[in-house]
Structure formats: structure tokens, C-alpha cells
């Protein structure tokens, strides 16, 4: 579903990511793990076509991100680190707007908005201005936005940052529910380890722009003979 080969991104002299390669299969839930500034967001932004790579190739659902970005964008739901919500719109207006942008057919828009709102648990805040809802709800409106049009691939950049423990639990449950349907391939980036354990089957640990480890979580723990915390600290520091 996702194939990345030799992806490199340079900002002038600074190398954000160096020669990343990995493959993610249909229906997999992968945790993208790394300390702050490791290059997680950069990689995700490249995958959704919001940022070009300096070199390398990324293919999502059979389409090259650089050759055919429109086809990729139609198949990918992306939630950036800061949810890109318009504070001056109600949640319903916002989701309707995104549905129009993503080319949902006119007669299906209303039903689609209701569907994603229910899925993300924001159906009761639909009539409220996004400026007036809590941070947790803003985040979840962002998740609902990413779900619009049932994209094959979901890319969530730190979806639980700033949420309270109950909301974190809800978001994790949501990701697990999505995983259970096997329709979506999901990449979740985070620097919270328990999150990866709770939701993902596989972890890609990224440190200073390169992949430090890429394996199922159980395997990682077995290999290094320690808990994921220790593995992470060891690999990130190495």
C-alpha cells in the first residue's frame, strides 16, 4: 500500500531525513516512533504531497506521490500535528467544506459528514463553532476530517497530543476500531511509547532522520531483550 524508497529531505545544509526506505502493507497499523525533531512530521508531509522530497520515491496505493499527487491526495486522509481547523466555522460547516474539497458527491456530503462525525465522536458538537470547543474536540474534528471519503491510507501526526487521558483512550480505541475494519492502512506518529503498544502492530523507530529499527513490537522487544521503552531509548540515543 505504501512504498518508500531512498527518501531524503534537505533544508539547505540541514538534512531532515536521510535515505528512508520502508514498505507498509494493506490494513497495517504502523507506529512512527521517534524523539522530537527526528523527522517524523517531515516524512508524513512528504507522503501526503504537502512537501516535496529532495530525492527518493514514495508510492501510495500504486500512485507516485511526486508524479501524480492529486491521485494520492484523494486516497490519503491526513491529520497534521496542529489540526487544520477553521476556528470561524462550525464543525459541520468545516467537515462539509472538506468533503467538497475532497470531491465527495453533493448528495452524499450530508451523510458522509454525519458518518465521520459519529466515527470520531464529535456528532454532538457539529453545530458548535470550532473556536468554542475544547482542544480535545478540535483534535477529534481533525480526525473526522481525515476520515472523510474513507481514504485507503490514514496518516495521523501525533493525534493524542494535548488530550486528557480519557480522550487519549477514546482516540486509541478509534484507531483500533479503524484497524479492525482492515480497510484503512494507518500510520500514527508519536513519541509516546505506550501509544504504539496500545494501537500498533509494528513500529518504525526513526532517529536523527534515519530508520533505527523497523519490526513488529513483540519482535523488537524480544530482539533487544527489554521493554519498548528501553529499546526506544537505546536506539534513539545510539
Amino acid at each position: 500500500m505504501i512504498e518508500v524508497r531512498g527518501l531524503t529531505k534537505r533544508y539547505r545544509d540541514h538534512v531532515a531525513i536521510r535515505d528512508l526506505s520502508f514498505t507498509i502493507g494493506q490494513g497495517e497499523i504502523v507506529g512512527f516512533l521517534g524523539p522530537n525533531g527526528a523527522g517524523k512530521s517531515t516524512t508524513m508531509r512528504i507522503l501526503v504531497g504537502a512537501l516535496p522530497a529532495t530525492s527518493g520515491q514514495a508510492i501510495i496505493a500504486g500512485h507516485d506521490v511526486f508524479e501524480d499527487p492529486m491521485a494520492v491526495k484523494r486516497r490519503v486522509g491526513y491529520l497534521p500535528e496542529i489540526p487544520p481547523v477553521y476556528l470561524d466555522m462550525t464543525a459541520r460547516e468545516y467537515l462539509t467544506f472538506v468533503a467538497r474539497l475532497r470531491g465527495v458527491r453533493r448528495k452524499d456530503i450530508k451523510a458522509e459528514v454525519e458518518r465521520v462525525a459519529e466515527r470520531a465522536g464529535v456528532d454532538h458538537v457539529l453545530p458548535r463553532l470550532i473556536a468554542n470547543v475544547s482542544k480535545g474536540y478540535r483534535q477529534r474534528v481533525g480526525i473526522a476530517m481525515a476520515l472523510i471519503g474513507s481514504p485507503d491510507v490514514l496518516i495521523l501526526d501525533e493525534p493524542t497530543v494535548g488530550l486528557d487521558p480519557i480522550q487519549i483512550e477514546q482516540v486509541r480505541k478509534l484507531i483500533l476500531d479503524l484497524a479492525a475494519t482492515k480497510q484503512h492502512t494507518v500510520i500514527v506518529s508519536t513519541h509516546i511509547l505506550s501509544e504504539v503498544k496500545a494501537t500498533c502492530s509494528r513500529a518504525i523507530i526513526i532517529a536523527r532522520g534515519t530508520i533505527a529499527a523497523d519490526a513488529p513490537i513483540a519482535e523488537l522487544e524480544a530482539q533487544h531483550g527489554a521493554s519498548l521503552e528501553t529499546v526506544f531509548t537505546k536506539l534513539a540515543a545510539a
Binding site: 508531509r45 501526503v48 504531497g49 504537502a50 512537501l51 516535496p52 492529486m70 491526495k73 484523494r74 490519503v76 491526513y78 497534521p80 496542529i82 487544520p84 481547523v85 477553521y86 476556528l87 470561524d88 466555522m89 460547516e93 467544506f97 472538506v98 467538497r100 474539497l101 475532497r102 470531491g103 476530517m145
Partner: protein
């Protein structure tokens, strides 16, 4: 195309559900209304004086188009100079500051659709602002009589003035959109737009101080030159070409700037 309409609807929604658009409508009505009333009473005084002196030649030369409607509509030019930077400043700068630009960048939307959507939305506002003062010729036409019968208003120059004002507003809006795409904050965008527009306003002053080709060039570059002819009731192709050129150039540059965010 559908995404362009979606963006137009969103932008118009912002203008019409907040105070911004209504400030513009209110200011425009107030300013033009003030001028209309004062020009109308001046017109009456001159007419009364001419009647008292029994001087029909003055009365024959007086017409409401030149003496009332012209000054009223030309006040719109000033208003656009101050108001357009306010409405265009948020267009792209705000998206960047609020991080919602990321949504547009990662949605299946082409940059040109974003640029056109935003431009058309402001275009609708400018259109309403340009049409508001049409109430005055309607009033004059309803209550006044022409010297040779019929209404008091000659409509052709009214239409050409309205068209000129509209085109000038669109030109200013395209420049404002470009400034908003370059700037990272709304204040900077507004100041930049105002600086550029005010510079354009000063061009005729500069033109008066130089000779030859430069003079011709500066005069041609000044928006006021092109509006002026329209205000007098003359629609020249060269003026239309001027407005179209500035608008298309600004939109093309804005498109490049928006596109550049994809490879920065």
C-alpha cells in the same frame, strides 16, 4: 471547478458572517451618501442662483451626471484604497498563521483553484460595493426631469463608471491577494497592500514631475488614469487591457507563490 466554488463559499461565508463585509457596506454607503447629499444641495443652490439671475445658459449646461453622480462614485476609489487591504489581508496569510494552509496543501486541490476561489470571493464583495451607489442615480431618475423630457440621469456614463470602479476594485484585490500570499502575518499583508496601492495612487503626481517617455509610462501605470476615462463615460479597450493585465499578472504571481510552498 467544484473545489473553487467550495472555497468561494467558505470565504464569502467568513466575510458575511463576521463584521468585515458589513463594515465595508456601511462605510461605502455612508461615504457615498454624504457626498451625494452635499453635491445634491450644491446643485440646487447653483440652480436656484441661476433661476434668480434668470440665466438659462447655466441651467442648460448643468447635469446631474457630472455634478452629482461623478463625485459620488469617485469617492469609491478612495474607499477601495483603504478598504481592500483589510479584506484581502487574511486570504492566505491567515491560513498560514492558523496552519490551515496544510489542509489545502494536502487536499486534492490545485493551487490555481485555491487562488481563483479566494479571488472570486473578494470579487463578489467588490461587486456589491461597486453596485451599492447605484441607488443614487435611481433616486435622481425617479424625482428629476431631464431638460428635454425623460429622466434626469444619463445611464451610459453611470454604467461605465460602475464598471471602472469594479475593475479597479478587482485590480486592488488581486494585488492584495498577492501581498497576502507573500506575507506571513495579516498586518504585514495589509500594510504591504496599502503601500503598493498608495504608491499607485501617487504615480500621477510623479508623472507630473518628469518629461517624455517616463511621463507617459508613469501615467499609463497609474490605475487612476484608467478609471478616469471610465468615470467620464468612455470605455477604452486600452483601459480594459490595463486592468486585465494587472489582475492576471498578480494572480499568476500569487499562484507561483502558493505553489512554491509545496517545494520549500
Amino acid at each position: 471547478m467544484r473545489t473553487t466554488i467550495a472555497i468561494v463559499r467558505r470565504e464569502l461565508g467568513v466575510y458575511l458572517t463576521t463584521i468585515i463585509a458589513y463594515c465595508g457596506f456601511g462605510l461605502m454607503s455612508f461615504m457615498t451618501g454624504l457626498l451625494f447629499v452635499s453635491q445634491l444641495s450644491r446643485f440646487q443652490q447653483i440652480a436656484d442662483a441661476a433661476v434668480a439671475r434668470q440665466d438659462p445658459s447655466v441651467l442648460e449646461r448643468m447635469n446631474v451626471n457630472d455634478m452629482i453622480l461623478g463625485p459620488t462614485q469617485s469617492s469609491q476609489l478612495w474607499l477601495f484604497l483603504f478598504f481592500v487591504p483589510f479584506i484581502t489581508m487574511r486570504l492566505i496569510a491567515e491560513e498560514k498563521a492558523q496552519r490551515t494552509f496544510e489542509l489545502l496543501m494536502s487536499s486534492p486541490v490545485r493551487s490555481i483553484e485555491v487562488v481563483l476561489g479566494k479571488f472570486f470571493a473578494v470579487g463578489v464583495l467588490i461587486g456589491i460595493l461597486a453596485l451599492l451607489p447605484l441607488i443614487y442615480p435611481v433616486i435622481l431618475d425617479a424625482y428629476g426631469n431631464g431638460s428635454r423630457g425623460g429622466g434626469a440621469v444619463e445611464w451610459a456614463p453611470v454604467w461605465s463608471s460602475t464598471l471602472s470602479v469594479f475593475l479597479l476594485g478587482l485590480t486592488y484585490a488581486s494585488i492584495g491577494l498577492l501581498c497576502s500570499s507573500v506575507a506571513d502575518s495579516q498586518i504585514v499583508a495589509a500594510l504591504l497592500t496599502f503601500a503598493v496601492l498608495f504608491g499607485g495612487y501617487l504615480l500621477p503626481v510623479m508623472a507630473a514631475r518628469v518629461e517624455g517617455d517616463w511621463r507617459y509610462f508613469l501615467e499609463y501605470a497609474a490605475p487612476v488614469t484608467h478609471v478616469g476615462r471610465g468615470m467620464e463615460g468612455r470605455v477604452h479597450v486600452k483601459d480594459l487591457v490595463y486592468f486585465a493585465t494587472v489582475i492576471l499578472a498578480s494572480l499568476a504571481l500569487t499562484h507561483r507563490v502558493v505553489e512554491s510552498h509545496r517545494w520549500r
